[in-house]
Every structure is written in C-alpha cells, then in structure tokens.
C-alpha cells in the first residue's frame, strides 16, 4: 500500500453530488442493476429461454398445416399470450426471488445503505432494472420474433396494432410480478416465502381461475392473458376488460409503496 493525500486532489475537477432526498443514489443504483442484466450473461440466457419456450411452441402450432387458417391464427396468438402471461410470471419470481433477500443476506444491501443512497432508490432501482430486463428479454424480443414468424408461416397477416396492444397488456402482467417479487423480498427474510408465495400466486391463478367467481377473478392479474388475447384477436369479451387492467395497475402501485415502506423499516 502506498500513500495518498487529500492535498493532491484539492484541485480535483470532481464535484460532490448533493443530496436530493428520496432519489439519492437512484441513477447510480439503476445503472448498477441494469449492468447486472446487460453486462452479464443474464440477458442472453433469459432471451434464449423465452425465445425457445414461447416462439418454439408458437412454431409448433404454426406448422400444423391441417388446421383451418382462422383457427391456426387464434391458436398461435392465444397460446403465445396465455402461456407467456403464466410462464413469464413464474420466470420472474424464480429469477429475482433473491434480488432483495439475497442482498440482505449477503450484506451488500447494508453496504449500499451505508452510502448516500435512499432506501426508496434501492427498491426503485430493482423495480426499474428488472422490469426493463424482463420486458425486453421475455416479452419484447419473443413478440417481435412472433410477428416475423406469423408473417412467414401464417397464411393471413396479423393485425399488428392489436397485437402490440395485447403485448402492452401482457407487459402489465410482467410488471405486476416483478413488483410483487420485489415487494415480497422487502417483506420477508428468506427466499422460501418469496418464491413460494410468488409462484403459488401465479399457479393458483392459472389453474383455479375458472373455478372462482368471475367478479373475484376480475380483481386479479390472472385474467390479463385473456384480456390480451381478446384484444389481439378482436374477440368479444366475456367481462369488462378494463377491470383487470385497472386493478392490476393499482395493485402494482400499492405494492411499490408497501415495498418502499417495508424496506424503509429494515434494520441491518
């Protein structure tokens, strides 16, 4: 180790960052979190998984030459969106279950919180970066590939506007599960409850939504896949499609607040 002095940096062009309250450290933390996606292999591993899974299944359906054209389009779009809504939810929970809990366990959260970074920034950075990561790798890229697939393999072309709207609604579902997993991470000490509750919520919705009263199911994100499909195919809705959208968006906002509140009370 060798010597250093403050005197040597008195003329430094470096400018101190002034505290801004709840946003302190946000940009830096978002940059770091995005780096965890895009500067590691995570982005291409995720992309590979979702392309193989979602576009692979869509390819299998589109290759069924004996199926009537209209049915083929319906089946391909429906499978892509419904399967995407469910599997991406599970993928989100599995991938980021340790995003907060892992940092609490390893001590990196305490380290970051010893710097001038607000607790809200810590939580928001995780939400922003993981949302961007999943929306891009699990939804946007497979959706673009699906469009190309449809163009090449289906006898009729898709209504791209409607399909884009449907992907937007599926994005809300992805956002919801990102928020839910991060919020669980702020609430619990271990990965078990985070993963268990998160995956349980996705699976219960997919397997039991048909058995539950429609008004109850409408107040959940479980119908977002169906809503997206109905928009994409311009099929008549069996329920008010705005209700699941509004409820999910409101729940996601509420969960963000809960996550920040819980993390604010965290002691390291």
């Amino acid at each position: 180790m060798t010597s250093t002095t403050k005197a040597a940096t008195v003329e430094s062009p470096l400018v101190p960052v002034h505290t801004t309250g709840w946003r302190d450290g946000l940009g830096n933390l978002v940059r770091k979190e995005l780096g965890q996606w895009w500067a590691t292999r995570l982005w291409w591993v995720q992309t590979l998984i979702w392309v193989v899974l979602l576009n692979g299944v869509a390819t299998v359906i589109m290759l069924q030459a004996e199926m009537p054209t209209e049915e083929l389009v319906t089946e391909a779009v429906q499978t892509f969106l419904l399967m995407g809504a469910m599997t991406i939810g599970i993928g989100v929970v599995l991938t980021i279950q340790g995003a907060v809990v892992g940092e609490k366990e390893s001590g990196t959260a305490a380290w970051v919180m010893s710097k001038p970074a607000s607790r809200a920034s810590f939580v928001l950075a995780k939400l922003i970066a993981n949302s961007v990561g999943f929306l891009a790798t699990a939804l946007l890229i497979p959706s673009l590939i699906f469009v190309v697939q449809a163009q090449l393999m289906l006898p009729v072309s898709l209504d791209y506007g409607r399909f884009a709207l449907a992907v937007g609604i599926a994005a809300l579902s992805v956002l919801f599960y990102v928020v839910l997993t991060i919020a669980f991470g702020c609430m619990f000490k271990g990965r078990g409850p985070v993963a268990g509750l998160g995956i349980g919520l996705v699976l219960v919705g997919q397997f039991f939504k048909g058995m539950l009263p429609l008004p109850l199911v409408m107040a959940t994100p479980w119908l977002l896949g169906d809503v997206a499909t109905s928009f994409a195919l311009a099929s008549p809705p069996e329920f008010n499609r705005m209700v699941p959208i509004i409820v999910t968006a409101a729940a996601a906002i509420a969960l963000v607040c809960v996550a920040i509140w819980r993390f604010h009370g965290e002691e390291f």
Binding site: M1, M113, S114, K115
Partner: protein, 344 residues
C-alpha cells in the same frame, strides 16, 4: 476526545474512566466533535445489545473501539450510520441526527463493514467506480485517477480488473478500505479493519490509518490490542453493551505515579527492608523475572518516592538495581481487567 477524566482508584482502575457515571464531554468539546452519543441504547427483544453509551469523538483523532465479541461494537456502528435505529438515546455526527439526517451524514462518511461484501460480478475498479458515483461526479479521467490512486493506496493495482467474486478475505478487506475512503470522507468508520489480514496486511492498514489521520477522523472497532496501542489517540472499551472505560490511550497506558517496578540482583530481603523503612511505602509485592527478584512497590507520597525510593535501594549493600520505573500497563492488562471487573 473520549471523555477524559483524571484517573482515581487503584491499579488498573486508576488508568481509565469508569463510565457508569455517564460522563458527557464538556459543551465546547461536544460542539467540535465528529461523533457524540448520549444514552445510546439498542434492544432486540429481551436482549440489551447497547445500554446507554455516551461517547464523544473529536476531529482528526483515531479512536479505537474495543470490546470482546458480542459486546455491541458493531451495533453501535450501525446506529451511527443509520443502518438501524436506536431504541433510546441519540447519536449525532457532525452535529446532525443519525436517524433524521442519515443521508447527509453518510455523504461525509466512509464505512468498512466487519465482513465486507461486494457485488461479485463487478471488478474492484467497477466497485470503486460504483461507490464513487454516490459521492461525486466529474470527468471520467478524474474519476479514473481517483480510483487508481485508491487502488494503489491499498495495494490492489494488479487485481483492479478482476471480478471480486474470486477475492480472498484479505483482498476484500483491502477493497473495503479502498471503497471506504474513495470519497475522502470526513469520518472513517471501520469495523474490524485488520481482522482478516495477515501481519503484513495489518501493518499496511495501520500505516494507511496513520497517513489519513491528518485529513480525517477515524473511528474503528477492533479486538487487536496491539493495533490500538500503536495508532489510537483514544480508546473506548465496551463490554456487554456498556461503555466500561474511555480515555486517551496515553493516559490509559501511562505509568502509575503511585506504583513502581524494581528489578534487582542480589539480596532481595535487604532491598525489601530498605524500602519498608520509609513510612510512605504502603505495599511491596515480590516476584521473579527471568530469575531476578522483581518488586512492585506502592507508595502514598509520590514526591518522596520520586526522590528517595531508588536512592535507598542503591545504597543497600549486596543489591544491584537492573531496572526501575513507574509501573506501565499494556492495553491487554487494562482491557482484561476491565472486562473481568465488569463481568463480576
């Protein structure tokens, strides 16, 4: 300073401030202090991790925070940093409240955790850049220069571009010290900075602390007593969540003016008789040191002892004095004695 009081009492106890009286530094000192705590308390359920500690740390000092494992040192540090909240009492850093003004405080502090952990996908250089961005912005070259300077400070230049995933405990510790001072903080809080280091690494860390003393205040916890003796201006000793002593290191270790140590060759009994002839000699204990008689003499009249004690022994036939001086404590004696007393 850490609550300087004049010693009173006997033996080891005379060397330190007993904090049960909750001493608070004088107002002028508090105003100039970097850290000031009053009755700082933390409980976890039924466990009293910290029981009303009072502490004042002045600018540009190095303060060693001593205590056995589980004594509450890390808890106290986390309270100072706002990583947890006090159950009672208050801590101020730079005159700001540790809870309300935590962000402003942290912008002036560098912190090294006891077992520093970093994002394993980042290299040492990226870790320092990430840390630096919390504190300042500016041209990339200037930031790079600051990082290079810091890497050089801790001897990690050759590992700068390796992911921290493969770092050893000692390398993580060095990186921890680097990130703690990348912002040239007004206050460095180091939790066991040398614990994971080999002797050479330990020496290097102490050297760095010595060099930084001119620019910053250093508050560090440790259980390596030699380190405290070497670099600390002040010492605070914590045990079972209580501050059992705090003092300037020099005061703590200074010779006791009422106890002398004498090593002789020759007739031990003749020396004892000569010493007992003085009415101000209140106690003599004898022991053997490397085969030679070693006497510990307690006196009631310091001035008389200063002028006559050695002379009277030298004048004794068949006695040769090989060593003489005021009793000098080492920190280990003080620490163990205090912890033992407190435990009782």
């Amino acid at each position: 300073m850490v609550d300087l009081h004049r010693p009173r009492g006997s033996a080891v106890q005379t060397k330190v401030v007993q904090n049960q009286s909750q001493p608070v530094a004088p107002a002028a000192t508090v105003a100039e202090s970097v850290i000031h705590t009053v009755g700082l308390t933390k409980t976890y359920g039924s466990v009293n991790a910290l029981q009303g500690i009072d502490l004042t740390v002045p600018h540009n000092s190095i303060v060693g925070f001593l205590g056995p494992n589980g004594s509450g040192k890390t808890t106290a540090i986390k309270l100072l940093l706002g990583l947890s909240r006090p159950t009672a009492g208050k801590a101020t850093l730079f005159g700001m409240d540790s809870v309300q003004d935590s962000l402003a405080i942290r912008s002036r502090v560098g912190y090294l955790a006891q077992d520093p952990r970093f994002y394993t996908h980042l290299t040492a250089r990226e870790t320092l850049a990430f840390t630096a961005r919390f504190f300042y912005r500016g041209p990339a070259e200037a930031i790079r220069a600051r990082i290079d300077e810091t890497l050089e400070l801790v001897g990690l230049e050759d590992k700068a571009d390796r992911p921290t995933k493969g770092f050893s405990g000692g390398e993580r510790q060095r990186l921890g010290i680097a990130q703690a001072q990348i912002n040239h903080p007004d206050l460095l809080i180091l939790d066991e900075p040398a614990a994971a280091l080999d002797p050479v690494g330990r020496r290097d860390v102490l050297d760095v602390m010595e060099r930084l003393r001119a620019y910053t205040t250093i508050f560090y916890s440790t259980h390596i007593l030699d380190d405290v003796e070497r670099v600390s201006d002040y010492v605070a000793i914590l045990d079972h969540g209580r501050m059992v002593a705090s003092s300037a290191t020099a005061d703590l270790l200074d010779g006791d003016s009422t106890t002398y140590e004498l090593t002789i060759r020759g007739d031990e009994q003749a020396a004892v008789r000569a010493l007992r002839s003085h009415p101000w000699v209140s106690d003599i204990t004898t022991a053997s040191q490397n085969g030679s008689p070693a006497l510990t003499i307690t006196v009631t009249d310091e001035q008389a002892a200063e002028s006559e004690l050695l002379r009277s022994v030298i004048a004794t036939d068949d006695v040769v004095v090989t060593a003489f001086g005021r009793r000098h404590f080492n920190l280990e004696d003080v620490f163990l004695q205090l912890v033992k007393e407190h435990g009782e």
